[in-house]
């Protein structure tokens, strides 16, 4: 196994381990593993202890699983992708176990302290929110992404005759066909489509306000949407550029290690942007969105991860546990979104898996 492959596998694992461990510090402070707490609970050190213990436990699991997989990798370096996938799956199971324990602790703490989360019986909405100017970026911003993709396609068409009959990408070799030359452009199309749809979903997400701070919560929600929209567009643009660079390496014989460098740069940039945004929203309190209709505990299933409320007409609601929004699984339209997400994942898996598998052998 080369040094590059080792770096890819270990940094991917570390990134996911970090996100799983630290996710407990994102989202609503008054929701602890799906258990809704009153404001006074925030001052209780036991609440902070439960969060800290989850992060520690998940980190310990991550260290053990990472160590075991490293050992496995040393003995079977040809199974790099399988080992990485297995380690991530194991880590997700372990973090779910840690979340389950933490939720039980939270429930016991709430019962012991006699805390009662006040269920808000007032509902507030703005008649003019987003009417003057949309809080999200217009879809026209994605013209830049489409422009990069078009450039890649036009270059490939213009230089078709100079493209060799056998294409190489890392350890992979392909015969030159229409599909192998343009497959990454197809991935670019998929990427742009997914992010445009995500942008539209953000714009359609509910703007439910806090009756106790109507104007403040409205501004917070609009800022929240704008930040997410900007982050999504930037991530999409970086990915489209990366796919373009990958295509150029394959078709025009650009330096092979450029793939590794551009890939690592992309991941680093995305991670830094993600953490930066989460930190910024935390500091400014923008992530503390009190979406009143969805705050009742009984609607959050599976350790507070899934929102299921048949009485709520909204399809997209703010995620209390972490970042962004989540689907109301009780809404009939949610099946369309879930089917679309699964379809995209399957298509990307079919296209990218053979390449990653060979690259990591």
């Amino acid at each position: 196994m080369t040094q590059e492959q080792m770096i890819i596998i270990s940094s991917s694992y570390l990134m996911i381990a970090l996100m799983l461990s630290l996710q407990v510090y994102t989202g609503l402070r008054t929701v602890l593993f799906g258990i809704v707490l009153p404001e006074e609970a925030l001052k209780d050190p036991s609440v902070r202890a439960i969060r800290r213990n989850y992060a520690l436990l998940t980190s310990i699991f991550a260290a053990f699983i990472g160590g075991a997989c490293l050992f496995w990798l040393r003995h079977q370096p040809a199974r790099g992708l399988l080992i990485l996938t297995s380690s991530i799956l194991l880590l997700m199971i372990a973090s779910s176990f840690a979340a389950r324990l933490s939720r039980i602790s939270a429930q016991h703490l709430k019962a012991a302290r006699g805390w009662k989360a006040v269920v808000q019986k007032k509902r507030t909405a703005s008649l003019t929110a987003g009417r003057m100017h949309s809080p999200v970026l217009s879809s026209w911003w994605y013209s830049a992404n489409a422009g990069v993709m078009s450039l890649c396609i036009l270059l490939a068409i213009a230089r078709w005759d100079t493209i060799p009959q056998v294409l190489h990408l890392g350890n992979c070799s392909f015969y030159k066909t229409g599909w192998t030359v343009f497959s990454l452009n197809f991935v670019q199309v998929l990427n742009i489509t997914v992010f445009v749809c995500y942008n539209l979903l953000i714009s359609r997400a509910r703007t439910s306000l806090d009756p106790q701070d109507r104007e403040g919560s409205l501004q917070k929600q609009l800022k929240h949407k704008r930040i997410h929209s900007l982050l999504a567009w930037s991530a999409s643009l970086l990915m489209v550029i990366f796919y373009g660079v990958t295509q150029a390496i394959t078709l025009y014989g650009w330096k092979g290690n450029l793939l590794f460098l551009s890939g690592m740069s992309l991941c680093t940039a995305l991670l830094v942007a993600l953490f930066g945004v989460i930190l910024y929203m935390r500091i400014k309190g923008i992530d503390q969105l009190r979406d009143v209709p969805s705050l009742e505990e009984k609607h959050w299933k599976w350790l507070g991860r899934l929102y299921v409320n048949p009485e709520d007409p909204a399809l997209i609601v703010p995620n209390t546990r972490g970042f962004g929004w989540t689907i109301n699984w009780a809404n009939s339209r949610s099946k369309i979104i879930i089917s679309a997400i699964l379809a995209v994942l399957v298509i990307e898996f079919i296209i990218c898996y053979p390449i990653f598998n060979k690259y990591l052998q």
């Binding site: 909405a125 703005s126 008649l127 929110a129 007409p313």
Partner: protein
């Protein structure tokens, strides 16, 4: 302009919504031709049933305060508000009767009741520059 509904109130939600929209138009916060959120959008934002918002919008449409179009959506009546009709006067008398009776039972004087009514009316239309 904000809408605030009380789920625990005895007043039905669609009535609360219709009343607040009417107040918004009366005070000038909602001007003729102003667009309102779609039924689905407002229902989602408030977290209430679509039929509740639909009922409120239809009520105001029947009274001539809103226009509901499939393509352009919901807007405040741009072509002038409906005038005072006999039907409206009858409805006003009906609603005032119950309020007057409740006031009389509590020993409120006629002048005080009239003064309260005047004060509430003035409060609503003050934002329009007063008339």
């Amino acid at each position: 302009m904000f809408i605030e509904l009380d789920l625990q109130s005895d007043t039905p939600l669609y009535t609360q919504l219709a009343d607040q929209l009417t107040e918004g138009i009366a005070s000038g916060e909602l001007k003729p031709g102003d667009p309102l959120p779609s039924i689905r959008r407002l229902a989602e934002d408030l977290g209430i049933n679509l039929h509740t918002v639909n009922k409120a919008y239809n009520l105001l449409k029947q009274e001539g305060l809103l226009q509901v179009h499939r393509k352009t959506g919901v807007i405040v009546q741009p072509d002038g508000m409906p005038g005072v009709t006999e039907a409206f006067e009858a409805k006003l008398r009906r609603q005032l009767r119950s309020l007057a009776a409740a006031a009389a039972v509590r020993g409120m004087a006629e002048e005080v009741f009239a003064q309260e009514s005047k004060s509430v009316y003035r409060d609503i239309i003050t934002n329009r520059g007063g008339e």
